[in-house]
């Protein structure tokens, strides 16, 4: 019987796995960013997530909202660039939406992720198709929603989200960037995967891996 909830320990595990995946893919993220940006996305995300894990190693919050608030503020203060405010805002809104609880069911997780996406859209003023992290995030949430509507369980919802994020990430390759530093390249940004969409996909990879155990 698959679990219907994700515990705070699993949520922390999600973040640890995200950290590991960012480290593992650091060179690739930076490589993607070299092609159409400023060659620092992998470096910045690795620094930010290392700071997050340091913080969690020191003090493990007992409540989900406190956990993600800590994550958000640590990222905002340690990442810089555009990724800092974007991931920071994502987790801050996530924290605000889920409230002071110790575990999340599928609906609560979806609520948190939707609030996070709204924050990213507001902060970055980007939409679907602009060749940004939203192109991985939005399809992931829609896929998750579809599974929830048809009565699928948490693991199925997250697996669907992960697959949709990866498809969304791959779909950024031919896009012409309209936001962020890649937009300065105009047509020349086409033919390269968006690094933000790539790191956002890692976030869903990590979540799926955590739920798979």
């Amino acid at each position: 019987m698959p679990s219907a909830v994700i515990t705070i320990d699993q949520l922390t595990g999600w973040l640890r796995r995200f950290h590991q995946l960012v480290i593992k893919n650091q060179a690739e993220l930076t490589e993607l960013d070299s092609a159409i940006g400023d060659a620092d996305h992998g470096i910045n995300m690795a620094r930010g997530m290392a700071a997050v894990i340091d913080k969690l190693d020191g003090e493990q919050p007992a409540r989900v909202n406190d956990l993600f608030k800590t994550v958000a503020m640590t990222l905002v203060m340690s990442v810089g660039g555009a990724s800092g405010p974007l991931y920071g805002t994502f987790f801050l809104r996530f924290a605000g939406a889920v409230g002071s609880v110790t575990e999340l069911d599928t609906a609560a997780l979806a609520t948190g992720l939707h609030a996070g996406r709204a924050g990213v859209v507001e902060r970055g003023k980007a939409g679907l198709g602009d060749k940004t992290m939203i192109d991985a995030l939005s399809p992931a949430l829609e896929a998750m929603e579809a599974v929830i509507k048809t009565g699928g369980d948490l693991a199925a919802a997250v697996t669907a989200a992960r697959d949709a994020a990866a498809d969304g990430r791959d779909a950024t390759v031919p896009m012409v960037a309209r936001k962020g530093r890649a937009s300065y390249l105009g047509e020349r940004s086409a033919g390269h995967m968006d690094p933000g969409a790539a790191s956002m996909t890692l976030l869903f990879d990590a979540l799926a891996a955590e739920l798979a155990g």
Partner: protein, 332 residues
């Protein structure tokens, strides 16, 4: 990678130690990576705060001091500083007259300064106004893009608004002046070589011996177009043409900056200025003041950018006002 560094991770922190050792007009908050004017907060004066990724020196830390900025926040190389740094700098320069944030139009810089201004409003009650510099004609502006980048005009704006702030003018007036300056200036840049971010260890892009990038920004990002290498005379035309096409400069005397990207010798920059000056002379618009040198750079990138500002008597007066910073120094 061959660089004068100890460890790629320590470049910014150790450069700040060097700036503190070298420059008597500033003090450095190492924990927050902020360069302050030594006597900040200055009474009866609006505080001027800027900041951005490192690697553009002398921008911004080299423009802290009398007649320019009160504080500059240093980010990692080519990466915006963070809102907590900016908030700290804002508190550190506020003497009760408000603070102006001068922000180059890059997605990260804009978002981080935005968060800092929100935090300042929520936590301190300090009045913050923000001016976003976006003078780069290489980027086609539209509703659907991040817009034009902030480049060379930032240097001129920090000098001119810094002089006005020194006169004790209120925040609203300084913000309005800053916007007028931003609207009256345009820039265009080019690169002969790429540059290497220390933590990345290799050049951001490759350029063949017979190629150049036209329409670059200041982060080692590729430009708008890769074109065959041309003579200085032709490059001067290629830089000037989109600037003149974008704005009518005929009404005013000009302030012109021929800026090096960090890796181009002065002899070439002066040669380029000569070419630019010839073209301007043909147009009949007088050049009132000029700067030739490395003022807003992209690490060791070779290449240059041209900035033209349509000035007037008042702006020339502000330009001539005393300034004492690492990057600009006169009249003292």
């Amino acid at each position: 990678m061959k660089k004068l560094i100890n460890d790629p991770q320590d470049v910014v922190a150790e450069a700040l130690l060097g700036i503190e050792a070298a420059r008597p007009e500033v003090r450095v908050d190492h924990a927050n990576r902020i360069i302050y004017r030594r006597d900040a907060p200055k009474a009866r004066k609006v505080g001027l705060v800027s900041g951005g990724g490192s690697g553009h020196e002398p921008l911004h830390g080299g423009y802290v001091g009398l007649g320019m900025l009160d504080a500059a926040c240093a980010g990692q190389i080519f990466t915006s500083p963070t809102p907590d740094q900016m908030l700290e700098a804002t508190k550190g320069v506020d003497a009760g007259n408000g603070v102006l944030h001068i922000v180059k139009n890059y997605t990260g810089d804009v978002m981080n300064f935005e968060m800092a201004a929100e935090l300042a409003a929520a936590e301190t009650g300090i009045t913050v106004d923000t001016v976003v510099v976006n003078d780069d004609v290489a980027v086609q502006d539209s509703l659907y893009t991040a817009g034009r980048r902030g480049v060379g005009v930032t240097v001129l704006l920090e000098k001119l608004v810094g002089a006005a702030a020194e006169e004790g003018r209120p925040l609203s007036e300084l913000a309005a002046l800053a916007r007028v300056i931003n609207d009256a200036g345009r820039s265009m840049g080019m690169a002969l070589t790429s540059c290497t971010v220390p933590a990345a260890g290799k050049p951001t892009f490759e350029l063949a011996e017979d190629e150049m990038e036209l329409g670059i920004g200041i982060h080692g990002e590729p430009g708008r177009r890769r074109v065959p290498l041309a003579s200085a005379r032709e490059i001067a035309e290629q830089l000037m043409e989109p600037i003149l096409a974008d704005l009518d400069f005929s009404s005013g005397p000009l302030i012109v900056m021929l800026n090096g990207m960090g890796g181009t010798p002065l002899i070439e920059l002066y040669l380029m200025y000569g070419e630019v000056a010839k073209i301007i002379e043909r147009s009949g618009i007088p050049v009132a003041r000029n700067l030739v040198g490395n003022y807003i750079t992209s690490l060791e990138m070779a290449g240059c950018s041209l900035t033209m500002l349509r000035a007037d008597e008042e702006l020339i007066r502000l330009w001539d006002a005393p300034v004492n910073t690492a990057g600009l120094r006169w009249g003292i």
